[in-house]
C-alpha cells in the first residue's frame, strides 16, 4: 500500500506517495536521487547511511520512509551552502578525514548531530558519537581530528 507522506528534505518541503515497505535509504537514493547517502552494510551495522531526522542521527537503511511523515530530514547534500563546504566538510577535507569517501557522508552527518548537541566535544565524546560508523580506510585518527577541527573552527567563528 502507498500513502501520501509529507517531508522536509534539506529545507525543501516535499510530498510523495510512499509504499509502506519502502526504506528511507531507498526513498532518498532512488526516488529523490540524493545518492550522497550511502548504502553500506544495509543492515544497521556500518553507519554509512546516517542522516539527520529532526536533528538527530538515524540510520536510513533500517528506517521505514512512511514512518517519517512530517519529519525534517537532512542529508549530506544539504550541508554545504551556496557552493561552499560546511565547516565539517571542510575540516574532513583539510585534515584528510576522507580517503575512499564511502563512509564520509555518514561520518559527517553523525558528527553534525553531535556538534549541534555538544559544540565542544572531547575525543571520548567524538568516539562515542561515531561508534556506530565504520571506516575501512583511515583508521579513525584523522576522522576524530577532523571533527575536533570543525568544532574549534566553529568556536572561533562564533
Amino acid at each position: 500500500m502507498k500513502r501520501i507522506v509529507s517531508l522536509n528534505i534539506n529545507g525543501k518541503p516535499v510530498e510523495d506517495a510512499i509504499a509502506d515497505n519502502l526504506l528511507l535509504i531507498e526513498y532518498l537514493r532512488e526516488t529523490r536521487r540524493l545518492t550522497g547517502t550511502k548504502q553500506g552494510c544495509d543492515g544497521g551495522e556500518c553507519g554509512a547511511c546516517t542522516v539527520l531526522i529532526n536533528g538527530r542521527p538515524r540510520l536510513a537503511c533500517i528506517t521505514l520512509a512512511s514512518t517519517c511523515d512530517g519529519a525534517k530530514i537532512e542529508t549530506i547534500e544539504g550541508q554545504g551552502e551556496g557552493g561552499r563546504l560546511s565547516a565539517l566538510q571542510r575540516a574532513f577535507h583539510e585534515n584528510l578525514g576522507t580517503q575512499c569517501g564511502f563512509c564520509t557522508p555518514g561520518m559527517i552527518m553523525a558528527s553534525e548531530g553531535l556538534l549541534r548537541q555538544n559544540p565542544d566535544p572531547d575525543d571520548a565524546e567524538i568516539k562515542a558519537a561515531l561508534g556506530g560508523n565504520i571506516c575501512r580506510c583511515t583508521g579513525y585518527v584523522k576522522i576524530i581530528k577532523s571533527v575536533r577541527a570543525a568544532a574549534q573552527q566553529s568556536a572561533g567563528a562564533a
Partner: protein
C-alpha cells in the same frame, strides 16, 4: 541482505486502544516500535508479515510518570531519552550504563525500551541469510526440525541478548502488559520463558505498555563482554545491584546473552564487616558459573563465556562495595 523489504501493510495507530483493535482485525500482524532489530530481521527473511503495527506514533507511549517515589516509563521511550534523564542516572545507574552499551548512538535514537525488553533471541544458526539457513536445513526456531546448537534437545537454545532486561531486573522492575482483555502487571523476570523460539510470556495481541521502577534505592552497574565496543550484542552481560540491609550488603545479579531468557540471581549471602571478602567473592563467582548456561549460539566458546561473565560479575560487585 535482500535489497527490498517484502510487501506489507503498515498500520499507524495513535493510541494503545487503536493498536489492540488493529491486532484484533489482523491477528497475524506484528508490533513494531523503533524497528532497529525487527527491520534487519525482516530483511534477512527471518519472518514474514502481512501487517506491521507501528507503535511509534502512539501519543504518550514515551511518557515518564512520577508517582511519588515510583517511576513509570512508557515502553516507547527511546534509549537516548532514557540516557538523558538525570533521575534515572542518579537512582538506577545500571539502566543508564546498559542503555549506553546498546548498539550505536543512531540506533539508540530510534530503539525503544519496550523493543529492547522484547528483543528477539539470537543464534549463530538463526541470524543468517536465507541461503545460509536453507543450506543448513533451517533450525528449530524457523522452519527446521532440529536445534543445531543442541541437536539432541527438544527446544531452541537461541540466546536472549537484550542489554536492558538485566539492569531493570536488579532494580526489581515490573512491567505492565495490556490487551483487549485488560491489563496485568508482573515482575520483569516473569516476562521471560527459557525457550529461544518463544521466549516471551506475552499473549497474542498483548503489548508491553510500561515499566515500573520502585522507590527502593540500590547501587548498581552493568557490564558486557562483546567483540566490538559499539554495535554489538553481548556475548554475555551482567547487571549487579547492591543493597545495605541491617548493616550487611546483599547482591542481586542478572545475566543476558547466556540463556534463552535473562537470568536473575538473588544472592542472599550477606557481606558484613567481618566477612572474608576474598572467600565471599570466590563463592559468588562459583554461584554465577552454576547459574548461567551459555550455549554454542555465538562464535565465542560457551565455557569461556561462562568463566568470563562470572569474573565480570565479581569485578562489578567488588566495585559496588
Amino acid at each position: 541482505m535482500s535489497a527490498n523489504l517484502p510487501e506489507f501493510n503498515l498500520v499507524k495507530p495513535s493510541s494503545i486502544a487503536e493498536a489492540l483493535a488493529a491486532f484484533r482485525d489482523q491477528p497475524h500482524a506484528k508490533f513494531c516500535a523503533g524497528g532497529t532489530d525487527l527491520i534487519p530481521n525482516m530483511r534477512h527473511g527471518l519472518f514474514e508479515v502481512e501487517t506491521l503495527i507501528d507503535l511509534g506514533q502512539i501519543v504518550g507511549f514515551d511518557a515518564v510518570t512520577i508517582n511519588g517515589a515510583d517511576i513509570e516509563l512508557g515502553a516507547g521511550i527511546s534509549l537516548s531519552k532514557l540516557v538523558g534523564r538525570a533521575d534515572i542516572r542518579e537512582r538506577f545507574p545500571a539502566i543508564v550504563k546498559a542503555c549506553e552499551k546498546v548498539a550505536g548512538l543512531s540506533h539508540r535514537e530510534a530503539a525503544t525500551l519496550g523493543g529492547n525488553l522484547c528483543l528477539e533471541t539470537r543464534c549463530l544458526y538463526y541470524n543468517q541469510s536465507e541461503w545460509w539457513r536453507k543450506s543448513n536445513d533451517y533450525c528449530l526456531k524457523y522452519q527446521g526440525d532440529i536445534c543445531h546448537v543442541a541437536p539432541r534437545g527438544n527446544r531452541c537454545r537461541a540466546a536472549f541478548c537484550g542489554d536492558l532486561a538485566p539492569a531493570f531486573m536488579v532494580h526489581r522492575a515490573e512491567v505492565e502488559l495490556v490487551s483487549l482483555n485488560g491489563a496485568r502487571r508482573l515482575p520483569l523476570a516473569d516476562l521471560y520463558v527459557e525457550d529461544g523460539a518463544a521466549h516471551l510470556a506475552l499473549q497474542p495481541g498483548e503489548i508491553l505498555a510500561s515499566v515500573h521502577l520502585p522507590a527502593a534505592r540500590a547501587r548498581s552497574t552493568y557490564g558486557k563482554i562483546c567483540q566490538r565496543g559499539a554495535i554489538d550484542f553481548p556475548q554475555a552481560g551482567v547487571a549487579v545491584s547492591c543493597r545495605k540491609e541491617a548493616g550487611v550488603l546483599q547482591f542481586e545479579l542478572a545475566f543476558t546473552g547466556t540463556n534463552s531468557k535473562p537470568i536473575l540471581l538473588e544472592y542472599r549471602e550477606p557481606l558484613g564487616p567481618k566477612t572474608d571478602a576474598d572467600s565471599y567473592f570466590e563463592a559468588l563467582e562459583k554461584q554465577v558459573q552454576k547459574s548461567v548456561s551459555p550455549q554454542r549460539t555465538t562464535t565465542t566458546a560457551p565455557h569461556y563465556r561462562r568463566l568470563a561473565v562470572a569474573a565480570l560479575a565479581v569485578r562489578l560487585a567488588r566495585g559496588l562495595v
